[in-house]
């Protein structure tokens, strides 16, 4: 019975945790320009994330180590500094974008410019990390994050052509504006497959003391959770396609994105959009700040746990404290949140090889996983994701120059 409770909770966590500033912004921009055509990218990104989460969760449940632990232990310090630096920089950028997302939501709600909100958001987030436990952070953001279901309601109320949507779930090339198309595709993939998500997930498995008994919980959580989460991202794309595309509106400001739910749902739609943006970005802010602190603590072997009093793991709690404040600074100085989001999603996409390729090695290491090493399905998926990550690394910079901005 307890286990089913945990499965339900895990699924809710993925739904609430999946949709955040990156997926909202990139999906809405994609839908506004290319109608449903980019929906397949969300299918690809979501499926990839589901596999990566299942594997890092299995790794933690079987080996009682997090993915970051194993990156250091199995590959040595000299290799470890590469993913450490890459994930640190990329996640800090994404953290800044999330704080920007919350700040924009508060600007839309109050009329007070977003830059004034950055530091208060960081302080409230910090206070929750300081006083809260792992389950408060995980479950609190998950439950409140269910407000994102609004996107599903919005999409259905606009009566999309299901046949067209069905066909868009398979890859296709654009008839026009291909640099922009692929640029948005890359940023959508960066928004779906973020390293902080699986680093946080594998640290969470240790915080929740998972064992081999939890392998089924892990599989269902990763699968169902991402199915729902990816579904919501597609709903955002569909809504934007039906609201913006016919009117020829290209989205380049958050004030425009905010209107995406006002067409199907009226004034309530605007309020619900603001609530969704605010809550999901705030939840991600907490998770990313923790994810970077986990990475540092596990890589260097410090004492860590979100369930300990900060005095018992001083370096760990100092890390998230400094990071969350540091990430708020660019927003407080007036950096454009939407441009920052687009940039950080592309940089995320480019960073994927250094965390995906080592996983391919670890998931086939019998010393770590014993009989729970990858089967051929997982290995095929992981090889495809690894190849995809290399393509993203090579394509990111040229596409940023050709299709960005």
């Amino acid at each position: 019975m307890k286990k089913w409770g945990e499965i339900a909770l895990g699924v809710v966590t993925s739904i609430g945790g999946f949709l955040e500033v990156g997926s909202i912004a990139t999906s809405v921009q994609g839908g506004a320009i290319f109608h449903f055509q980019l929906a397949w990218v969300l299918v690809l990104g979501t499926a990839s994330l589901a596999f990566l989460m299942e594997m890092t969760g299995r790794l933690a449940a079987v080996s009682r180590r997090t993915y970051a632990d194993l990156l250091r232990e199995r590959f040595g310090y000299r290799f470890f500094v590469v993913p450490l630096l890459a994930v640190f920089i990329v996640s800090l950028l994404v953290l800044t974008s999330e704080i920007g997302g919350v700040a924009i939501a508060l600007q839309l709600a109050t009329g007070i410019a977003f830059r004034w909100w950055a530091i208060p958001i960081a302080l409230i987030g910090w206070l929750l990390l300081w006083r809260g436990t792992f389950s408060i952070v995980e479950q609190g953001t998950a439950m409140l994050g269910l407000v994102a279901l609004t996107f599903a309601v919005g999409a259905v109320k606009l009566h999309p052509d299901w046949g067209t949507l069905g066909r868009a779930l398979l890859p296709s090339t654009p008839s026009r504006d291909s640099a922009r198309y692929w640029y948005i595709a890359v940023s959508m993939l960066g928004a779906s497959i973020s390293p902080y998500l699986y680093l946080f997930y594998s640290a969470g498995a240790i915080e929740d003391a998972w064992t081999i008994e939890y392998l089924s919980v892990n599989r269902i959580t990763a699968g169902l959770g991402n199915l729902f989460g990816g579904g919501l991202a597609i709903a955002a794309l569909v809504t934007a396609a039906l609201v913006f595309e016919p009117r020829g509106i290209q989205v380049d400001r958050y004030e425009q994105i905010a209107l995406v739910l006002a067409t199907p749902l009226g004034r309530a739609g605007l309020v619900l959009f603001i609530a969704t943006l605010c809550i999901t970005c705030f939840g991600s802010t907490l998770e990313i700040a923790l994810a970077i602190a986990y990475l540092l603590a596990q890589g260097f072997g410090w004492q860590w746990s979100e369930n300990l009093k900060p005095g018992k793991d001083a370096r760990f709690s100092t890390s998230y404290t400094v990071l969350i404040v540091l990430a708020a600074v660019p927003i407080a100085l007036g950096a454009d949140p939407l441009q920052l989001t687009n940039l950080s999603m592309v940089v995320t996409a480019a960073s994927l090889p250094v965390t995906v390729i080592p996983l391919l090695v670890l998931m086939n290491d019998g010393d770590v996983l014993d009989t729970h090493v990858n089967g051929w399905i997982s290995n095929t998926a992981l090889v495809v994701i690894a190849l995809l990550s290399v393509v993203l690394l090579v394509a990111a910079l040229p596409l940023q120059l050709l299709g960005g901005g």
């Binding site: 232990e73 310090y77 470890f80 809260g132 300990l308 009093k309 005095g311 001083a314």
Partner: protein, 126 residues
Amino acid sequence: MGAVHLAYEVVDSQLVDRHEQKIGRVDALLLEAEPGKPLRVATIVIGAAARARRVGGWFAATRRALRALAGIRAEHESRIPFSAVRRIGDTIQLDVEERALESEHFERWLGDHVICRIPGASGASK
């Protein structure tokens, strides 16, 4: 425990103290050379200088130069005799106290001077 593969099972492993508190990872292993005796694995090193040398000579040299420029002298490194190893498993347990380790200097300093001045930092549990 039979033969122990040093590079595979010891280097980079998580270290814990007597009370299972995490105290860093094995950053380097030293061999001891005493006149007239064979070399033996003698010491576990925990510290940033040892880690920097693992990345490469150039990295360690850059680190030294930057520290010299900033006027930082103290190198808070722990060298623990291999005889303190109690157990090699998921983690390596050492017969030491976290509070007594030089490599935990920064953890203690942060705890005593920064973290504990903020309300809600100490106490039994959250």
